[in-house]
Amino acid sequence: MNARGELSAVVCGIGLLGPGLVDWPSAAAVLAGKHPYQRAPTCAPAPALLPPAERRRTGETVRLALAAGLQALEGTRTDPEGLATVFTSSGGDGAICHEICSTLATDQRDISPTRFHNSVHNAASGYWSIAMHSMAPSTALCAYDGSFAAGLLEALTQALARAAPVLLVAYETVYPEPLHAQRPLCDAFALALLLDPRPTEGACARLQAQLVQESADTLEDPALERLRAGVPAARSLPLLRPIARGERGRVVLDYLGPLRLAVTVTPCP
């Protein structure tokens, strides 16, 4: 940490799944302007690492979060068993919420025990620790539309406090109706960042974050801007742009109204 309240870490791995974006390399090509953005439904693969019984119980939200986390660790030497994790999502699993509330609105009220324990906001965090045999600390948080910046702050302060890498996973799925009318998230999207507070070989960029009161950056491409504005986890896209381009840059991310998070991105040599 340099100045008071400035947090710093290097990015050692990135995982990304979104509409028409199957992984970080494909997203980076779009963000760098090498490929045009073509929207397509987000695909959340089944987590092969979970035992079959657990795998069957996971819904789209958990699958998406786990897939992004796994992508971020690919090709790194990070030991997932000892890796602390931060999961951030504005809403958790809307499909489960819908099923539970629909059942509770009937006379029977016999909600499924599995759905109930999967309804917790930390479901992805719990399944991740089971899949990775990780007893390391794991948290799950929410700051509504500012959930990505809140997760980044938590991950950076954890990395600083533990002097060890932290995996941040931000994820969101689309709510079914009638909840969707109240919370119209446009797409499923997940981003994972493997952050290390120490200088690390193979890191792609250094991040230096600070709270500011400035307006948040937007994206020029209308389709990408629609994604950024339409999904809290995709409020991370302005941060990913300089990383994808291998450029130095300073971006301002949405957080809590006038309070926002400025991040300076410096490419690692």
């Binding site: 119980r57 016999d110 109930f116 917790v120 799950a140 406090a161 109706e177 919370r183």
Partner: protein
């Protein structure tokens, strides 16, 4: 970590509004679990409901935040001069330098449950329903920021029943990093049908008031609570006998979504880490507020973990026999009970338990005990295998 002072704290649960009422109940061994008569629930279980929430009124400007969870929040914030203390901290540090880190498991989910009953003919939710201001987990921190005029960083941690213990760790890290000067931490969870019917579906609710660590224990009683603390680095004006947070330990079970590891391996790791952070040996802990939910497997796993970490028995109890299991608020509620224990020397009895299961090897308190206390530990464990232990200390000095 550098110790943080709990300069102010408060709690409201079924056993009382504010610290004095809660302390009177604990001193009298008076629990508050009663047969469930919540909303339209028809379940053979007992609950710890906070009476009178129906009559709490939110400020008109915050009308769209109206929900059982926020009524409980507002009621609790006004106890023990807590809101006034936060406003003083705002005057001292500025509104952007105080963080709001709160825990909840279901937030205002009850409002969504009720809205689903009132869907229109085309399936839409009623126009009066406000998801973002009531049901969303962050609604809790949003509401508290608005009530108290806070403009600093804010997060809601939602890791089931460890939520509002983990906020103490997150706040300590933010203060350590220099992002904030002080933090409002705590937890609020209120009764809703999802948790009542959900724990019932998992066959984890007891038909009678829960009896943690009793040989015949047969499940939990769900409660509701709001508990808050103001954390600040101690300064020259901090009274010497102020309760301090000195250790936080967090871990994951990596075992099962709704059952603890049978030997409490994750719980052991959380307790050991909290002790290490506090720089304490296990024998220096004088009282443990156990998670102690009252289910056969939770209590035996926790007992195994405690007996593995603490070589000799430590006086311990679960206060859930009095308050019920307040889920996402349990961590903060029980931290406040620990802070009261340090302040008054009261180790509260675990109510409803006739005698602790002798096979568990705990020194479980079935009657109140009074001794000057300096170091205590509180456990909170949740679904997803999320574990958190807190160490609270108080310098030697006169106790009230």
């Amino acid at each position: 970590m550098r110790p943080l002072a709990l300069t102010h704290f408060t709690a409201t649960s079924a056993i009382g509004r504010g610290l004095q009422a809660m302390l009177s109940s604990l001193r009298a061994g008076r629990g508050a679990l009663a047969p469930c008569a919540f909303e339209t629930a028809t379940l053979p279980t007992c609950i710890g409901a906070v009476p009178g929430l129906e009559s709490v009124q939110l400020p008109r400007s915050l009308a769209r935040y109206d929900s059982r969870n926020h009524r409980l929040t507002l009621l609790a914030l006004e106890m023990d001069g807590f809101a006034a203390a936060v406003r003083q901290a705002v005057a001292r540090y500025g509104p952007t330098r105080i963080g709001v880190l709160l825990g909840t498991s279901t937030s205002g989910m009850l409002e969504t449950e009720l809205a689903y009953r009132q869907r229109t003919a085309d399936g839409a939710l009623p126009s009066t329903f406000a998801y973002g201001a009531t049901h969303n987990s962050y609604a809790l921190a949003d509401f508290v920021r608005r009530v108290l005029g806070l403009e600093g960083p804010a997060t809601v941690i939602s890791t089931a029943c460890s939520s509002s213990a983990k906020v103490f760790g997150a706040a300590a890290r933010m203060i350590e990093a220099g992002l904030i000067d002080a933090a409002l931490v705590g937890g609020v969870d209120s009764l809703c049908l999802t948790t009542l019917y959900g724990f019932h579906a998992l066959q984890l609710t007891s038909p009678q008031p829960c009896r943690p660590f009793d040989p015949a224990r047969d499940g939990i009683s769900i409660g509701e609570a709001a508990a808050f603390a103001l954390l600040q680095p101690p300064g020259p004006d901090t009274p010497p006998a102020t309760v301090m947070l000195t250790g936080v330990g967090e871990s994951s079970d990596a075992y099962h979504m709704s059952s603890p590891h049978p030997d409490g391996l994750g719980a052991q790791a959380a307790m050991r880490q909290a002790l290490a952070v506090a720089g304490l040996k296990p024998q220096q802990i004088e009282y443990i507020n156990l998670h102690g939910t009252g289910t056969p497997s939770n209590d035996s796993a926790e007992a195994r973990a405690v007996t593995a970490v603490f070589e000799r028995p430590v006086p311990s109890s679960s206060t859930k026999g009095a308050t019920g299991h307040t889920l996402g608020a349990a961590g903060a509620l029980e931290a406040v009970i620990c802070a009261l224990a340090l302040r008054t020397g009261l180790m509260p009895a675990g109510l409803n338990t006739r005698a602790a299961d002798p096979s568990l090897g705990l020194e479980y308190l079935t009657a109140n005990r009074h001794v000057p206390l300096r170091r205590v530990l509180s456990n909170s464990f949740g679904f997803g295998g999320s574990n958190c232990s807190l160490v609270l200390e108080r310098a030697a000095g006169a106790q009230a």
